[in-house]
């Protein structure tokens, strides 16, 4: 398929990849924003969405450049965690995204893989930036994470470079159905096991997971799911002696 695509097609794909990287560069901020929406309804503690947006926006637009200038000017003011996130994580990725526009990607599989891994490493560097470093010759809590984080940045940059310099595989095709339903089944299991108990949870999760394949026959799946649930309900709590809620909480009370 890749052969039939002309030059313009490659160009649009580069733009898409670059846009993807920009999104990746803002992913932690977006994640915190979505998380903070919960605070409106009183779920969990944390800052509200408005504070999150303003803090990150100022950090991204104004805070970080001024911090850079400040450090050149010799200012030793400690940067806030938002500014650090922008400096350590978002800016390098924006740079990569811009550079991507001007590159010929020979192996998208390696290039994208390398850049995403680099994002993870940068994120780890940010996450360990508040930890203590070396104290004399003894390691602080942050020394090792920073050491390995830096190493991973270098290695993943190397992988991305291989993707630019050598021919290789294009991006693989991702299916959505399998991952979606399998993960949905796992998440349902995690949320439901305490309130609903093993019997209900195992059966429903089984059916959700079974939806992940288009070859599933419903009656057959329901029968096997019921048998499996019965088997698990005997095996885990009784034979193996692992404590586990069995039935929905509201039924027992």
């Amino acid at each position: 398929m890749a052969d039939t695509m002309g030059h313009s097609a490659t160009a649009t794909r580069n733009t898409k990849v670059a846009l993807g990287f920009c999104l990746l560069a803002l992913a932690p901020q977006i994640f915190e924003l979505i998380w903070s929406i919960g605070t409106i309804f009183g779920w969990g503690a944390g800052r509200g969405p408005a504070t999150v947006v303003t803090n990150h926006a100022t950090a991204l637009l104004a805070g970080a450049p001024s911090a850079i200038l400040g450090s050149f000017g010799g200012g030793a003011k400690k940067a806030s965690s938002e500014v650090l996130l922008a400096l350590i994580y978002s800016y390098p990725l924006f740079v990569v995204a811009i550079l991507t526009l001007f590159m010929t990607i020979r192996s998208a599989q390696d290039y994208v893989g390398g850049v995403v891994l680099m994002a993870l490493a940068l994120f780890a560097l940010w996450a360990s930036s508040d930890l203590q470093g070396m104290r004399g010759f003894s390691f602080g809590a942050g020394t090792a994470p920073r050491m390995f984080g830096g190493l991973l940045v270098a290695l993943s940059a190397g992988i991305a470079l291989t993707g630019l310099l050598t021919e290789g595989a294009p991006l693989a095709h991702y299916a959505w159905r399998g991952p979606l339903f399998v993960v949905a089944a796992i998440v349902f299991f995690a949320l439901a096991i305490r309130p609903l108990g093993l019997v209900v949870t195992a059966f429903v999760s089984f059916m959700i997971a079974a939806t992940g394949s288009h070859e599933t026959r419903w009656l057959e799946a329901a029968i096997v799911g019921a048998c499996l649930t019965f088997g698990c309900a005997i095996l885990f709590p009784y034979v193996l002696g692992l404590p586990m809620p069995m039935f929905p909480r509201f039924l027992i009370q």
Binding site: A124, L131, P145, I186, A190, E215, L242
Partner: protein, 504 residues
Amino acid sequence: MDIFANLAHGFAVALSPINLLMCLIGALVGTLVGVLPGIGTIATVAMLLPITFGLPPVGALIMLAGIYYGAQYGGSTTSILVNIPGEATSVVTAIDGHQMAKQGRAGPALAIAAIGSFFAGCVATVLIAVLGAPLTKLALAFGPAEYFSLMVLGLIFAVVLAKGSVLKAIAMIVFGLLLSMVGSDIETGASRMAFNIPELADGLGFATVAMGVFGFAEIIRNLDAGAEMSRDLVQQKITGLMPTRKDLIDSTPAILRGTVLGSILGILPGGGATIASFGAYTLEKKLAKNPSRFGRGAIEGVAGPESANNAAAQTSFIPLLTLGIPPNAVMALMVGAMTIHGIVPGPQVMQKQPDLVWGMIASMWIGNLMLIIINLPLVGIWVRLLRVPYRLMFPSIVIFCAIGIYSVNNAPVDVILAGVFGLVGYWLIKHDFEPAPLLLGMVLGPLMEENLRRALLISRGDWSVFLTRPLSAVLLAVAAGLLVLTVLPVLRAKRDEVFTESEN
């Protein structure tokens, strides 16, 4: 003789009814896992970890060990009869084994695979018993600097023996090391990269990550291809298990070579059963008078790899039992199992827990004997299992995994984390990253950091300590040499050749 006394003690432990039962269960589950494609050994051991909580430590470890080497037997059955490998370790067995089955010689192929595995298993058991004590003595001379260098060597071995790009494999190890640092710092107690999430304060559970990256990711990947895998099962009844005289003569040298190669590769850190079977197949093909027979049903192509993978599966226990360093991902899970039962793996285990070590060694021999019975006369039952369609199997595996992870800590968050790592694993597969080095890095991470810190503290911050202590310097030199050799073009081609065998 010390060894005989120790082995006798081991057999006394292993022959107790409860341990015999555990050994049998392990062998049965291992065979089951090996036969069924789509569930790997790593995921199974991770899944069954919580089950062993209630058992005595010796029984638990005997069972988990049984699963590992049992899977090596079971994998060959699927490879020979269905032409899809039940396990990564029996990929090459499928090449010649399935051809033999098509020619109506499934019986001899299965028999040779089992006989080869049994022989290799016996040799490996003796090897563990012989090498155990001296290596333990060596380990006692190790200081933190040596331990750190040894782990570097182990990780480099993992890179050399991993499939695909060297750079990617190293990156995966470092990623694993980073993951291992989530949670509380061992020395200062500071919370690292935990984002104030209480469940992360204790670090990422090793079983959780293993289950996600190997269990869930594998399922998701298989669903991509469509749940129905093409299974051209050899339908005719398997008759005549006995190999002919010529078969035996042909395969004996292959079994011997496979056993030697497998034993060596198993001991090396980073090695393990997969590389052993690939290596053995390449070796047989190189040595054969008429290499064109390979791929058309050469019995050596079954005997060599099957002996090698079983030998390697067992000898990989040596570094774990003597040095306390897991050489591959399954052994890493065994460390987890030992820790759960309050046993700290390391050189002291041999002295402090003779029951455990020698009981496990003896049980391996017993387990191999059981496996040959489980696999040969009962092969019909296992074949019938293969007819269970994947569309019913995969939701069952998902549920089993979920219950398994939940019961480790009774924490729903662990289940969600495993799901997240399932997606991470799927992404890694899509970008051609090997997940096994990641797991190894994650296990060795805390050990490495601790020894590095300690070594530098003792040397008062002088990094040259790793080069001035002779043992450590030798280990590091070997590691550096290996890395250079792997990157050299000539050897790189050789390494790729070993792994491309399956794609013909």
